[in-house]
Amino acid sequence: MFMNYLDVKGRIFDIQRYSIHDGVGIRTIVFLKGCALRCRWCCNPESQRYDIETMMVNGRPKVYGQDITVREVMETVKRDMPYYSRSDGGLTLSGGESLLQIDFAEALLRAGKDLGVNTALESMGYAKYSDIQRILPYLDTYLMDIKHMNPEKHKEWCGKENTPMVENAMKIARSGQVKLIIRVPVVPGFNDTEEEIAAIAHYASTLPGVNEIDLLPYHSFGEGKYTGLNRPYPMGNALPPTQEKMLRLKAAAERGTGLYCQIGG
């Protein structure tokens, strides 16, 4: 006898309601805990480890990480139904890398579809493609990060090579089952040159059905969290890219690719 998918348990570290800048309409984001990468600029360091941990927030300790069933998550998600229906919004999974908890991610998206709302996933595609295939039927929009085209540099800044993920992007695109949008965090010293951005955009333009690429400027929102976790901040005093630079990179991404490029999610 199969377990009811609503009883599947997973580990999250936050649920954020009224998210209005990721995907269509008013959304609720469920943040799954645990990540395969360790990107230096990561603004959610509390998302990286699967273990439940304690972070200091405004001088008080706060526990991050909670084991929860799909049913319980949906209790919260359901509360904003009137806003999803008015805005075509819905449920977004983020992380961490949600695909590392594939049973949970699949069940959450399936529950989202049961509600009839729009579903989205923010992910690097770090998983076996057979796992990714399990979620595609329940997913409307795949917001996929491609951070760099050079495997070595990717490994140096994120801890792992990007080859499997780049390959997965092509497979997802070819499946034709979801709307795929490529997102690039623009990080100073890592990928903030016109050549590097153009390389990613070029690859994105070869993905069937992909017509949008988003450039997300680096910000230091996460800095305080590193302190709260008693970890050094890997980005030091790096400054966010200027608006002028972002516009130049946008032009580089659009040049010859036919893609629409948006700054910010």
Partner: protein
């Protein structure tokens, strides 16, 4: 295909100059009206009150100095000084004399007053001794009512000291038929009077007073026509000369006769709006559905090529400027409760027609744009939202919200219309509703709603339960038993209900006493002429002449009461973490968090009274010793720690505003404690009471009169406003907060509810930001929320949020591609967002 043109029209340069002139100096108090009404009243002693009012109105309008301000297209000013105010000694005057020397320098709404004006007012004011509405009202009140008011359970200050206002009149009839049309109706009513009618005398005099009053307004307009002609003759600029001649032509035709053009319709509207406020000092005289009754004139002129859309927009903008030329000086305490020189002239666009179709037209957009052009607090612009509202209109409204001006307020037809129907208003009239003042639904031209009848502080009866009705050693309310005697949560709740019921009955007594005083001393024939069925009944509005009569006092502090009841239920009775007696002590000791100056002052007064009562001498030393003793009082460390523990336990509980059903259910019940008893009471005009749940800005001063409450609120800090969650206690973002508020029974508060929400402009940036904002409003309204307004925060607010994060925990800002709670961001990022706000980069 839309049946409207929503293209924005450019702002005329004239408007900027009109606004600049209006604000080139501080508002001033003038004496002319007070002198004129006193002269007239001295001469009319012995005549019936309605007739005296009409004669005085005529005398004032005949002699009040008039002025046409530079470049005005719409004329009519109540004072020579821009944004000045006249005084209304027939309602009350003593407070102003007492504040003569402080009114110019007070923090809320200061007014300049010259020595000359003080002298002139001092000369006429004494005539009114013993003749004001407020004195008569006070003489009608029960002793326990006066006592409850002294103890600040409620305050009916508004109509106690001023005219009532708070109506919407038949602007449409004056524009369409002219005052001559209304006078013809009056004459025919006079002819129909039967000599054997027992009310023959009253009716005849009232109808005659109506004729005098309408005629007075016609003559007043003619004075402006003459003045415009004179100024035209002197004018060297050819363009302005033409404008002045046009003004002369307009004012000699309206409001006497039907308007022939859009400009005449605007001018007729304005004379009605202005002279009504000369007749009495009531505020919240609300233009209502301006886009509806003005539209035929706009449409005709545009169709016939008489004016361009640019000219029409300029005229609307001019009306908006004039709405800011009217002003009112309130006493210092009321000024804090109504801060911002506001006259609450509510003007509403959109919504449905009486037959239930979408009412959006060109003017709906142009009115919203006028607010953007003029960027002033008047009119209080509002928008009606229903399932068939044009999306373009909502997006345009959102654009105005994003400017940070705090307008428009959004109203939900889908709950307001059924709510009005439940009070006996027929469907087609309810569909035509407008809003009065802050948030009060109203039948245009047919209702006397007495909407702003009192502020009732729902947290005070709660304090009375803890004090068993005693305060500062005096009896202040009924006795509901020693706080230690309640064995169950239900017992406690029953005691609170008793305190509420008792004080609500006193509130009714206060309002009805004031109502009677206005009926007897302040019938208003001009206002009455413009509201059905006063002429047909031969009865002033103040005697019940309107078709629909209500009294709408407003309660506030639901969030505090709800969170308090939840804390008591949970921590005292379910988990037994502390007892009610212990909690009572913690409240008295302000949770061990120290005492403020107000407590010190109260204690010092108590000591002084006691010493005086015992025959001792009250010296400055004695007072200052008492004050410093309270301020420096040190509790034993253990006791202090226990109170802080109690505070922490309370603080850790979920609060109203977080979409937690258990708490929100209690909030719904708390609102019922106020809304349900009221409709059982009647007013002297033949109507019933109906509750509102909104505070204007009185939650701040009245919070200053409220001790610590069991929700963890410290003594004398503001009480929660309207139906909004306590500031900074809604931690799960706008949708959670909206869901909590939507769980209240808004329809039962048929006098209106008010929900304030804070927004940062970055959360509304771009086209998508506007769309998501509209979806938020719609999602709240789909769940039967009634009203919503947005405080788009500015840089100063964010700076304050850095200093006092505890007050701003629910504040959402857009960071970079996503939104976050401002207080959770790092200092440097906060600084960054503050810089962005300052630059307006995301607008």
């Amino acid at each position: 295909m839309n049946n409207f043109d929503s293209t924005p029209v450019e702002k005329s340069e004239r408007i900027g100059r009109l606004v600049k002139h209006l604000f080139h100096k501080m508002p001033e108090i003038e004496a002319a009206r007070a002198e004129l009404i006193t002269e007239s009243y001295k001469a009319s002693e012995g005549l019936p009150e309605t007739m005296r009012k009409a004669l005085a109105f005529d005398h004032i309008l005949e002699n009040l100095p008039i002025i046409i301000r530079p470049e005005e297209l719409i004329v009519g000013s109540t004072t020579i000084a821009p944004r000045g105010c006249q005084t209304y000694p027939e309602f009350s005057y003593e407070w102003l004399e007492a504040e003569f020397d402080t009114v110019e320098h007070r923090s809320a709404d200061p007014f300049y007053i010259s020595e000359e004006t003080k002298k002139r007012l001092k000369a006429v004011n004494p005539y009114w001794k013993g003749k004001t509405t407020s004195e008569l009202a006070k003489s009608y009140m029960a002793p326990e009512t006066l006592r409850a008011m002294e103890h600040n359970v409620f305050t009916p200050g508004n109509y106690y000291y001023n005219g009532v206002g708070h109506v919407n009149v038949h602007y449409d009839r004056v524009i369409n038929e002219g005052l001559r049309g209304i006078m013809a109706q009056t004459t025919s009513a006079l002819l129909k009077l039967k000599v054997c009618d027992p009310e023959y005398g009253n009716k005849k005099r009232f109808l005659e007073a109506v004729l005098i009053s309408c005629n007075a307004v016609i003559k007043y307009a003619h004075r402006y026509a003459e003045l415009a002609k004179e100024e035209a003759a002197k004018e060297s600029d050819a363009k302005r000369k033409q404008e002045l001649l046009k003004i002369a032509e307009v004012c000699s035709n309206v409001p006497e006769n039907p308007a022939r053009s859009f400009q005449e319709a605007c001018q007729a509207f304005w004379f009605v709006q202005q002279t009504m406020q000369i007749e009495s000092s009531g505020h919240s005289i609300s233009p209502g559905r301006f886009d509806q009754y003005m539209y035929p004139y706009y449409e005709k002129d545009i169709r016939n090529g008489v004016i361009t859309r640019f000219q029409a927009q300029e005229l609307i903008d001019c009306v908006w400027v004039k709405l800011n030329d009217l002003n009112k000086c309130r006493d210092a305490v009321s000024a804090e409760g109504f801060a911002g020189y506001s006259l609450f002239q509510n003007l509403i666009v959109g919504g449905q027609t009486p037959d239930g179709k979408d009412a959006t037209n060109d003017l709906s957009f142009m009115c919203l744009d006028a607010t953007k052009h003029v960027f002033l607090p008047q009119p209080s612009i509002s928008i009606r939202v229903w399932n068939g509202s044009a999306k373009e209109l909502l997006i345009r409204a959102a654009e105005v919200t994003r400017t940070g001006i705090g307008f428009p307020a959004y109203y939900n037809d889908e709950i307001i219309i059924p709510s009005m129907e439940s009070r006996g208003i027929p469907a087609e009239k309810a569909r035509n509703y407008c809003i009065i003042g802050c948030v009060e639904p109203h039948v245009p031209g047919e209702e006397d709603g007495w909407h702003d009848a009192a502020f009732f502080n729902m947290a005070r009866p709660l304090e009375m339960v803890f004090k068993n009705g005693y305060e500062n050693g005096e009896e202040a309310s009924i006795h509901t038993g020693d706080i230690g005697s309640f064995k169950t949560y239900e017992d406690f709740k029953a005691a609170y209900k008793k305190q509420m019921d008792y004080n609500i009955a006193l509130l009714v007594n206060a309002d009805n006493s004031i109502d009677k005083a206005h009926m007897e001393r302040s019938p208003l024939p001009f206002e009455s002429a413009l509201i059905d069925d006063c002429i047909e009944k031969g009865m002033p509005l103040q005697s019940g002449g309107a078709k629909y009569n209500f009294t709408g006092p407003q309660g506030f502090g639901i969030a505090n009461v709800a969170d308090s009841l939840y804390a008591i239920k949970k921590l005292v009775f379910e988990e037994k973490r502390f007892t009610l007696t212990e909690l009572a002590k913690a409240l008295e000791m302000n949770f061990g968090k120290g005492f403020d100056v107000i407590t010190a002052k109260e204690t010092a007064e108590q000591v002084a009274r006691k010493v005086a009562a015992d025959g001792g001498e009250v010296t400055p030393d004695l007072i200052s010793n008492a004050v410093s003793a309270v301020l420096n009082m040190e509790l034993p460390a253990e006791e202090k720690q226990r109170y802080e523990e109690i505070w922490q336990m309370i603080d850790d509980l979920p609060k109203y505003g977080n979409d937690v059903d258990e708490v929100d259910e209690i909030a719904r019940e708390a609102a019922y404690f106020y809304t349900r008893p009221l409709p059982n009471y009647k007013n002297p005009r033949g109507g019933i009471f109906q509750a509102g749940l909104y505070p204007v800005s009185a939650n701040v001063p009245l919070g200053g009169q409220t001790g610590a409450t069991p929700d963890g609120r410290l003594a004398h800090t503001p009480v929660a406003d309207g139906v909004s969650p306590t500031n900074g206690k809604d931690l799960h973002g706008p949708t959670a907060s909206c869901n909590s508020v939507a769980k209240l029974d808004h329809a039962d508060a048929s006098n209106g509810t008010l929900f304030n929400m804070k927004m940062h402009p970055t959360a509304m940036s771009g086209e998508k930001g506007l769309e998501n904002f509209v979806s938020l409003v719609r999602g709240f309204f789909d769940q039967k929320g009634m009203h919503m307004q947005f405080n788009v925060v500015d840089k100063e607010t964010l700076l304050d949020a850095q200093k006092h994060p505890e007050k701003y925990q629910g504040l959402v800002v857009r960071v970079a591609g996503y939104s976050a709670l401002f207080t959770t961001l790092s200092k440097s990022l906060q600084d960054d967002i503050i810089r962005r706000t300052a630059q307006g980069q995301y607008r």
